[in-house]
C-alpha cells in the first residue's frame, strides 16, 4: 500500500497522538526507576538478586489480579470484590483437595470456576439488576468473604486433623517454585498479562471493552452488547482472582478466609499507576505490569526500611489516593482543552 495514511505512520505522529498514553507509560516507568534508585541508595538490602526475586514473587498475585481489574476498568467499571473472591476460590479449592481428596487438577479447575462464577454474578447484578458497579462488587466483597469463612470455618486450610492429605507439592510449586531461577508466580503473572494484552488487542471483545468504557451510548448504537461486554470483563476479573488464589495458597502453603484482604486496593492502584483512565476507555496492560511491580517495590522498600506495618498501611492508602489525584490533575491539565 502506497498511501501515506497507511504506509508509515511516523512514530512521532503516533506519539503526539497518544501523548497521554506515552506519558502513561513513561510516567510510571520513571516513577519506578526513581523508587528503585532511592531504595538502592537508602538500603543495602534492596539491590541484590535474592531480594529482587522476592519482589517479583510478591508482585505476582497483585499483577494477576490487576490484569483482570484492567479489563474491568477499561469498560468503565470497578471490581472491589477481587480480594474476597480470591480467598473464596482458594479456600473452596484447597478444602476440596486436602480435606476431601479431590484430584489436584480438578481442584484447580474448581478454583478457577469459583472465581469466574463470582465474576459472572457481579456482571449479572450490574447489567441485569442495574446496580452501580461499585455497590455490586462491594456486596460481593462481603458475600464472598463470608462464604470463605463458612467453607474454612475460619481455620487455615489444610487444617491439621481434618485434612486427608497435605498441600500438594504442585500448588506449592506454583507459589514458591522457580523456573530458570525466576519465581514461578512471576512467570504466571507474565503469562496472564500477555493473554490479557492479546485479548484486549486482537479480539472483538477486547475492542468492545474500550468502546463500552469510552462511550457506552456509542457502543450501543454500533450494535455492541454493553451487557455482554461488561459481563465478560467481570468474568475475567473473577477468573484471574481465582488464578491468584492458587498462586497465593501455594506461596503461603495454606489457604484461609482472610487472604487477599485489601487486594482490590493494590490492584486498582496498579492499574491507575499504569495510566489507565479510571473512568474507562483508555489504558494498556504494559502499564498495569509496571504499576504492579511499583506497588511491590514500594511494599518491599517500606519493609526493608523497617517501617511499621501499621504505617505501611497508612502509606499505601495515601499513595493510592495520591496517584489518582495526580492522574486526574494530569488529565485536566493535558487533555481537556
Amino acid at each position: 500500500m502506497s498511501n501515506p495514511i497507511v504506509r508509515n505512520i511516523p512514530i512521532i505522529e503516533l506519539l503526539k497522538e497518544r501523548k497521554s498514553s506515552v506519558m502513561n507509560f513513561a510516567g510510571p516507568l520513571l516513577g519506578l526507576s526513581i523508587l528503585v534508585v532511592l531504595l538502592s541508595i537508602f538500603t543495602p538490602y534492596f539491590w541484590n538478586s535474592a531480594n529482587l526475586l522476592n519482589v517479583g514473587r510478591q508482585a505476582a498475585t497483585n499483577i494477576i489480579i490487576a490484569a483482570g481489574m484492567t479489563l474491568v476498568i477499561f469498560t468503565g467499571g470497578i471490581d472491589l470484590s477481587v480480594g474476597s473472591v480470591m480467598a473464596l476460590a482458594a479456600s473452596v479449592s484447597i478444602v476440596a483437595i486436602t480435606h476431601f481428596g479431590v484430584n489436584l487438577w480438578l481442584g484447580i479447575l474448581i478454583c478457577l470456576a469459583v472465581g469466574a462464577l463470582c465474576g459472572l454474578l457481579n456482571g449479572l447484578v450490574i447489567t441485569k439488576g442495574r446496580v452501580p458497579d461499585f455497590i455490586a462488587t462491594l456486596g460481593m466483597m462481603s458475600f464472598a468473604r463470608g462464604l470463605a469463612l463458612l467453607v474454612t470455618d475460619g481455620m487455615p486450610i489444610p487444617y491439621f486433623g481434618i485434612a486427608v492429605r497435605p498441600m500438594p507439592k504442585e500448588i506449592i510449586a506454583f507459589g514458591a517454585g522457580h523456573i530458570l531461577g525466576i519465581p514461578t508466580p512471576f512467570f504466571i503473572a507474565l503469562v496472564v498479562i500477555l493473554i490479557t494484552w492479546f485479548v484486549s488487542k486482537n479480539t472483538r471483545t477486547g475492542r468492545h471493552f474500550f468502546a463500552v468504557g469510552g462511550n457506552k451510548e456509542a457502543a450501543r448504537v454500533s450494535g455492541i452488547s454493553v451487557e455482554k461486554t461488561k459481563l465478560t470483563a467481570y468474568m475475567f476479573s473473577g477468573l484471574f482472582a481465582g488464578v491468584a488464589g492458587i498462586v497465593l495458597a501455594g506461596r503461603l502453603n495454606s489457604a484461609n478466609a482472610h487472604m487477599g484482604s485489601g487486594a482490590e486496593l493494590d490492584a486498582i492502584a496498579s492499574v491507575v499507576m499504569g495510566g489507565a483512565n479510571l473512568f474507562g476507555g483508555e489504558g494498556a496492560l504494559g502499564g498495569t505490569l509496571v504499576g504492579g511491580v511499583t506497588i511491590a517495590v514500594l511494599n518491599n522498600g517500606l519493609n526493608l526500611l523497617a517501617v511499621s506495618p501499621f504505617w505501611q498501611e497508612v502509606a499505601m492508602g495515601a499513595v493510592v489516593v495520591a496517584v489518582v489525584i495526580f492522574d486526574q490533575w494530569r488529565r485536566r491539565r493535558f487533555l481537556i482543552k
Binding site: I9, E17, R204, A211, G214, R220
Partner: protein, 504 residues
C-alpha cells in the same frame, strides 16, 4: 441613544479544528434587544457561552458599563449580572417553581439555617407577577409545559437582578400564544434597562422585537445593522454568503422500489402510530420541532427504545428489530443527534469506523489488523476525511470530519437505509455542504435516507419527500415540489397552541 451596557472587542475562540470566533466585536446597550443571527456553526452559541462563562475566550476584551471584566466561569457571569436562559432548560423538574427561581439563594429565617418558605413564596410571587405569570410558586416545575418553563428561567434571571439577559432560541419550542407572552415580558424587561442578546433563526422575529441585528458567519462578524433598516433578503445574503443552490447541492437520482416500510410505529406517548416508507435512492426528510418525537422515532426504529410497537419490512422482508444489533443486521445505520453519542472520541478513526463490521474482518477469531486498516483507509479516502493518518483520535478532528467518520462507519457497513438525525448540527457551512454531498452520493449508490432535522431549509434543500411531525404524529407529507416553508411550519407547530399550552 441608549447608554452602552456591554462592549466586546476582538473576541476570538478556537476549538480543535475549528475557528469558532475570529476577532468579533459586539456591543449591547441598555434597554435594547440585540439580535444575533447566523447559521448553525456561525459562532453564535460560542459567543453566548463566552458571555455566560461556560467557555473561555482565547483573546479579546469584555467591558461592562465601560469597565473591563473577566468572565472565566459561570459564577463570574452571575456576579457580573449576566444571565443565560438555556435552550436546554436548566431547571430542577422535581422542585417547585419557587425553589427553582431562587435556587442557590434560598432565603433563610433570621438567625438560623432553616429555609423560610413564606419568604420564598412571597418573593417568587412578586417575580411571577412582574412577568405576568399566573402560577403558584409551589407548583412543581415538572407539571409545567416547555414554554412556561422557559419563562420561569427568565424569572430566575430577574431574581438575580440580571443586567444582561442571553436568550438562546427562546421561541423554538413555544406556541404562538406563548411567543406573544415572551415578547411582552421582553418589553417589560427593556423598560427596566436590561439588555438582551437574542439568538434566533427566525428572521420574522426581527421586526417584532429587535433593535439591532448582528450577523455572524463562519466565526466572523459580517455586520451590524438597525433592525428597521434590515430587509430579509439582505440578512439572508449576509448570513449565507452564497447562493442557496450551492448550499444544498442536490443531484438527480433515480428512485427505485420501496426499501423500507414502517407501519404503526408507536412508542408510548412520544410516537403515535407513525407509518412511512423510503424508496431506493430516496431522501426522506422528517421535520419537527423540539419535542415533536422525531428523535424518538429514529431511536425506536433503530431498536434503542423499549416497548416499541411497529412493523418493519426492509426490501420486502418483514424484520424484527429489538436492539441495534438487529437493526444493523437488517441493513440500517443510525447517526445520532448528538455526535458525541455516536463516536468514541478518545479512540482512533480507524477503530471508530470498523466497530459495526469487526465481525467481517476477523481471521481465526482475531481482528485482522491489515484488513481493518484497508477498510478504514478506503473509507477515509471515499469520504475525504481530512486527517494526517487513520490512528488520529476522533476528538482531534473538526466537527465536520467527525461527522464524516460517523457516516463512514455506515458506508463501510453497506447499510441499505441510513437514519441521519441532525447530521449537520454544529459543523461549519463548508463541512455541511460536503456532508450533503455525501448524503447525495449515498442515495445515488442506492441507499434510502431518512433525514431528521430541525432546520427547515436543510430539509427542504435536500429531501425528495418531506414528512412533518408534531406531537408524536406524522401530520403532513409534501413532495419536494409542493414544499412551502410557511405551510410546513404551521403543521409543525400543530396549527394551533402547542404542547406548552398549559400557559395561562
Amino acid at each position: 441613544m441608549k447608554a452602552q451596557l456591554l462592549n466586546l472587542f476582538n473576541i476570538s475562540k478556537a476549538y480543535p479544528g475549528v475557528q469558532a470566533l475570529k476577532e468579533v466585536d459586539f456591543d449591547l446597550r441598555h434597554g435594547e434587544v440585540h439580535f444575533l443571527l447566523g447559521e448553525n456553526g456561525a459562532g453564535k452559541s460560542t459567543l453566548m457561552k463566552i458571555l455566560s462563562g461556560s467557555v473561555q475566550k482565547d483573546t479579546g476584551i469584555i467591558q461592562m458599563d465601560g469597565k473591563e471584566i473577566e468572565i472565566i466561569s459561570p459564577q463570574d457571569a452571575v456576579k457580573q449580572k449576566i444571565a443565560m436562559v438555556y435552550q436546554e432548560l436548566s431547571l430542577f423538574p422535581n422542585l417547585s417553581v419557587g425553589e427553582n427561581v431562587l435556587a442557590g439563594m434560598l432565603p433563610v429565617k433570621k438567625g438560623s439555617h432553616l429555609v423560610d418558605w413564606k419568604e420564598i413564596n412571597r418573593k417568587t410571587k412578586e417575580i411571577l407577577d412582574e412577568l405576568g405569570l399566573d402560577i403558584s410558586p409551589t407548583t412543581p416545575v415538572a407539571d409545567l409545559g416547555v414554554g412556561t418553563r422557559q419563562l420561569i428561567e427568565i424569572g430566575k434571571a430577574i431574581s438575580r437582578q440580571a443586567k444582561v439577559l442571553l436568550l438562546d432560541e427562546p421561541t423554538s419550542a413555544l406556541s404562538v400564544h406563548e411567543i406573544e407572552k415572551l415578547y411582552s415580558i421582553v418589553e417589560k424587561l427593556l423598560q427596566k434597562g436590561i439588555g438582551i442578546v437574542y439568538v434566533s433563526h427566525k428572521l420574522s422575529e426581527i421586526p417584532r422585537i429587535a433593535n439591532r441585528v448582528t450577523v455572524l458567519r463562519d466565526g466572523h462578524k459580517i455586520g451590524t445593522i438597525d433592525a428597521d433598516q434590515a430587509t430579509e433578503s439582505d440578512l439572508i445574503r449576509m448570513m449565507v454568503g452564497r447562493e442557496v443552490s450551492e448550499k444544498y447541492p442536490k443531484d438527480k437520482v433515480k428512485i427505485g422500489k420501496t426499501l423500507l416500510n414502517v407501519t404503526g410505529l408507536t412508542l408510548g406517548k412520544r410516537v403515535k402510530n407513525v407509518s412511512f416508507h423510503i424508496k431506493k435512492g430516496e431522501i426522506v426528510g422528517i421535520f419537527g420541532l423540539m419535542g415533536s418525537g422525531r428523535t424518538s422515532l429514529a431511536r425506536a426504529l433503530f431498536g434503542l427504545e423499549n416497548c416499541i410497537d411497529m412493523n418493519v419490512s426492509i426490501g420486502g422482508n418483514t424484520t424484527k428489530i429489538n436492539n441495534p444489533k438487529d437493526a444493523i443486521k437488517a441493513g440500517l445505520g443510525y447517526i445520532t443527534e448528538e455526535r458525541k453519542m455516536g463516536l468514541v472520541l478518545r479512540m482512533a478513526i480507524a477503530y471508530n469506523i470498523t466497530f459495526p463490521i469487526l465481525k467481517k474482518i476477523l481471521r481465526f477469531g482475531m481482528i485482522d489488523h491489515k484488513s481493518e486498516r484497508k477498510t478504514s483507509l478506503s473509507c477515509i479516502e471515499k469520504l475525504h476525511i481530512v486527517t494526517p493518518h487513520m490512528m488520529r483520535l476522533v476528538e482531534n478532528l473538526s466537527g465536520g470530519n467527525q461527522q464524516k467518520v460517523a457516516l463512514g462507519r455506515w458506508m463501510c457497513n453497506e447499510s441499505k437505509v441510513l437514519i441521519l438525525d441532525e447530521p449537520t448540527r454544529g459543523i461549519d457551512v463548508g463541512a455541511k455542504v460536503s456532508v450533503y454531498k455525501l448524503i447525495g452520493q449515498l442515495a445515488k449508490e442506492g441507499a434510502g435516507i431518512l433525514l431528521i432535522s430541525s432546520e427547515l431549509p436543510e430539509v427542504m434543500g435536500i429531501s425528495d419527500r418531506i414528512l412533518v411531525m408534531s406531537k408524536g404524529e406524522l401530520v403532513a407529507e409534501f413532495t419536494r415540489e409542493e414544499a412551502d416553508s410557511d405551510i410546513i411550519m404551521t403543521h409543525a407547530v400543530g396549527g394551533k397552541v402547542s404542547e406548552g399550552g398549559r400557559l395561562i
